[in-house]
Amino acid sequence: MTGQPAARPVSAELERLVGLSIVPRRHYGRWVAAAIILLLFAWVVKAFAEGQIAWKVVGQFLTAPAILNGLVNTVIMTACAMALGIVLGVLFAIMYMSPNPVLRGSALFYIWFFRGTPLLLQLLLWFNLALVFPRIGIPGLIEFRTIDVITPFVATLLGLGMNQGAYTAEVVRSGILSVEVGQTEAAKSIGMTRLTTLRRIILPQAMRVIIPPVGNEFISMVKLTSIASVIQYSEILRNAQTIYYANARVIELLIVAAIWYLAVVTLLQIGQFFLERYFSRGRGERRARHKASPGNGAGGQP
């Protein structure tokens, strides 16, 4: 090495440098920014604390029966509409990828229609289905008055679920496409049928790609249920409105609703975290944890 001899004369200087203490760089800009943000935050908190909000009323209505009832309806609707959306999404994603032109065409039509029209319009269409078909059922076998069948619950479920299915179909399709062909070939080579391959090999791996966007849509759905108030489905926002029409505590009741929405969404986010971790097994993200955990048989790394 040529550097060695040249370095020798300055070794005393180097010794001195090594002895000095290290002072980290000061980020003055960041400190100023942080101070401004804290000030703004304090100002907003103060404004709300002194504003025309009766926090007592908020506390009082937080657990009012009508609000809790609305909360339950919101949660039930979110779960049902997402379940319908995911089932339809998987079904239409598979139809979309079918070589059969009729299956593929109907999936394309479904996605085109339900993604292409406003959700509010779809809800109103379902709710007013009786105007088109006064009676529905299997002719000569069983028949109902449409108005009895399409309750606000059913109309909301169909509207939200069918709309969600159109979006989820695309998410599921991208998830399935993300799994390499080699996985399918290996599944075939051990004698799996197409359906078993999809269920055991493709979908579990596609889930890794599907979960983050579906989690996102789950959270959207919690809030989307609020538009069902226009067709008299008594979810939490509609019940809050009903109360403030009577007592004029508008902001207080909106805050009550906001608190509950945030609570539900927070729970969902926690759930999503664990689901993501489960479906990323064998994909590196869990690798460190897996190796670190004691007592699993993977011990003997060579």
Binding site: Q183, E185, A186, S189, G191, M192, R281, G282, H290, A298
Partner: protein, 258 residues
């Protein structure tokens, strides 16, 4: 007639086209049970395609393939050949085990789960039994301590050995190897070839597409050289590898050896 058993694989005039490219052009080959058949040839010669036709990952356009005396992919109905259903093809695939160039282990399953997946899900065997057998197979490929490792946590050579165990767990009559060492680092090739040698000694019928001429010379009873979708030369390794008759074979072998 001698006392020779009937061949376990018969391919007759097999053709396969990818759009306008003729990948297989009238390939005929017959393989006796217990035999190790190596197939060599330059890339694009159709050797992998031929292997993939044998377990119906690719569908043939012409000719016929019989495995264990059974026509694969079709059933004769009157004067026509009718394509088999998905379930029937899946059943026919049980006769062959396949080992892929890129291993293709199921990423979301541990080594053990990969091996028992077929026996449990396809053959509906009791889980406990499948696990016991899988542990024997893991021991056979020397990976007992990897039972709970995911593919990503294993080296290429280890993954390929698990893939061999996964194929063996289905108790196939024939093992197909599609360039099993081509994706491996040079120092990992040996461990996979050792497992394959051991398997050949046990009397398994093996069809091996490979560039490992040393392996072919040592283990194969018969070597086929393919080029441009056709079998150019066939014979015992001492002939095809050491004393090739055709110019194209000679060219290929000298290119691989240098």
């Amino acid at each position: 007639m001698t006392g020779r058993p009937p061949p376990i694989v018969v391919a007759h005039q097999v053709t396969k086209r990818f759009n306008s490219v003729r990948a297989l052009n009238g390939v005929s080959l017959s393989i006796d049970p217990g035999m190790v058949q190596c197939i060599i040839g330059p890339s694009g010669s159709g050797k992998s395609t031929f292997l993939r036709c044998l377990n119906q990952i690719e569908k043939i356009d012409g000719g016929a393939i019989l495995i264990d005396g059974e026509l694969i992919g079709y059933r004769q109905v009157g004067n026509a050949l009718r394509a088999l259903s998905d379930a029937e093809i899946a059943r026919q695939r049980l006769a062959t085990g396949m080992v892929f160039q890129r291993f293709n282990l199921f990423h979301h399953m541990t080594a053990l789960e990969n091996i028992i997946e077929g026996p449990v899900t396809v053959l509906r065997r009791p889980r406990r039994e499948a696990i016991a057998e899988a542990m024997d197979l893991l021991a056979r490929v020397g990976l007992t301590d990897k039972r709970d490792s995911y593919p990503i946590e294993m080296s290429g050579g280890q993954q390929q050995r698990v893939a061999i165990a996964r194929a063996l767990a289905m108790r196939p009559r024939i093992m197909l190897f599609d360039e099993p060492t081509s994706a491996l680092d040079p120092e990992l090739v040996g461990e996979v070839l050792a497992v394959m040698r051991d398997l050949a000694r046990s009397g398994m019928t093996m069809i091996v597409v490979t560039h490992e001429l040393g392996f072919a010379r040592e283990v194969a009873q018969d070597v086929v050289f393919m080029d441009r979708g056709e079998i150019v030369e066939q014979g015992p390794p001492s002939q095809v590898l050491l004393n090739p008759q055709h110019g194209r074979t000679r060219e290929f072998i000298s290119a691989v050896l240098t």
